[in-house]
Symmetry: C2
């Protein structure tokens, strides 16, 4: 499938590299930030285009990987003459924003992407939604070449997957940052926390997290929780977070 | 060093196995729950004792690994005739709770322990505190045999380390559980989240977490956050958590 890419951010970068690896030519790249399109196009051997209106009629698949709130607007600029299937890659955006097109769908990779960090797409769960059975078959074939974990998900399921990912990834990383910050204030190296971070994730890969919860909250160890809150004097926002999360653990244990 | 162990929980179990591996005989085990002492003593070839008063005068080191709020009380029951160094293993308990003894200290392993999961002690950061220079030397020698990451930390530093660990481990695991729970409600397999969990931890092992934060909050993507809050209708406690953590991310970005 000849592919055009609208967007040149983290998802666009990783997805385009995975597509090319599997033999799908990415022929054009557009980005709202011209230079990003030029850079990515150079990196993957595609043409960069200055406007969505310049989209080639050769493109069989157009992947929109831009900020969620720009998807609908970008989709509207795709020339009506294009016969391409149009997909977006967003967890939180309903497929319906593309309903102006004939054939459309969603290809949502459930992974965290940073430009500097390589990702093995084979392991990335890919969630599919399509406007019609033929499109579903085509997207399914493509997705199966990219990843061993392809699954259908409607827009409601995808939204919940995204929320779950925010808790398990974004919020989790923020709590690593809080640890980093607390240690720095005591002149302690963040390396000291790394074995614990690795072990905590390792456990979650083998066991149901709800079955291996540890710490003062699940032990209902009020004395220790109060010591921790006292240690956080001077960080009222962290005290509040500590209380909220601990209460939620207690409620669910 | 001949060692007696007061406590037979997760920390006591893993610590005693690591000590024995390095050639330090654990001669006695006591626990508030008699059966736990018997089980651990059998597993490691020690005697179980029914009362702390039965502590052998041969013990050169007594390790108290009981619930934080029981440490002081257990320490008081150690016979005055014992010449052993007495240490506890708690992150949140000041060394001062042991000040009734002549030589005492703290040996705090910064790791999460579950009975079923093996832990390689070589990688576990061990934090030391001692009542006097001689005790510090002895504990330092022992700790260095157990782990390649031994460091001095006073009671205030240890408390902050523990708080940081609660955020980076206990709270993080709870957020994995929330993911597990949300997916289950949509009949989705928790396996779908595992690559993301692994990747998020991997990143934190290589980069400063504060430098690789992703997600709607750090992008100030209010539209997506509102969609997520709407998706959590019916989970007011999760909505509240989502708001608290997101606000904290926004504040720090």
């Amino acid at each position: 499938m000849k592919i055009a890419l609208l967007g040149a951010g983290n998802v666009a970068t990783h997805l385009s590299k995975a597509l090319i690896k599997k033999g799908h030519p990415v022929i054009q790249v557009w980005s709202n930030t011209r230079q990003n399109a030029v850079d990515l196009a150079l990196a993957i051997g595609a043409d960069s285009i200055a406007s969505v209106l310049d989209l080639s009629l050769d493109a069989e698949l157009v992947i929109i990987a831009v900020k969620d709130d720009a998807i609908e607007e970008v989709a509207k600029q795709i020339p009506a003459t294009s016969k391409a299937i149009v997909v977006h890659t967003s967890g939180s955006t309903a497929m319906a924003v593309l309903r102006g097109r004939t054939h459309y769908g969603v290809l949502y990779p459930l992974q965290t992407f940073s430009k500097a960090v390589d990702v093995d797409f084979d392991d990335v769960p890919l969630f599919l939604e399509a406007s019609d059975p033929n499109t579903e078959i085509k997207l399914s074939e493509l997705a199966s070449q990219l990843s061993a974990r392809v699954q259908l998900a409607d827009s409601a399921q995808r939204l919940i997957l995204h929320v779950a990912a925010v808790f398990a990834c974004n919020f989790t990383n923020h709590f690593y940052s809080i640890g980093e910050h607390l240690l720095k204030q005591q002149n302690l190296d963040f390396n000291l926390l790394r074995p614990l971070i690795a072990e905590t994730a390792e456990k979650a890969l083998k066991y149901a997290p709800s079955s291996v919860q540890t710490g003062p909250a699940v032990r209902l160890d009020v004395q220790t929780m109060n010591k921790h809150l006292e240690a956080l004097t001077g960080h009222p926002d962290l005290q509040e977070l500590y209380r909220s999360v601990s209460q939620n653990i207690v409620k669910n244990c």
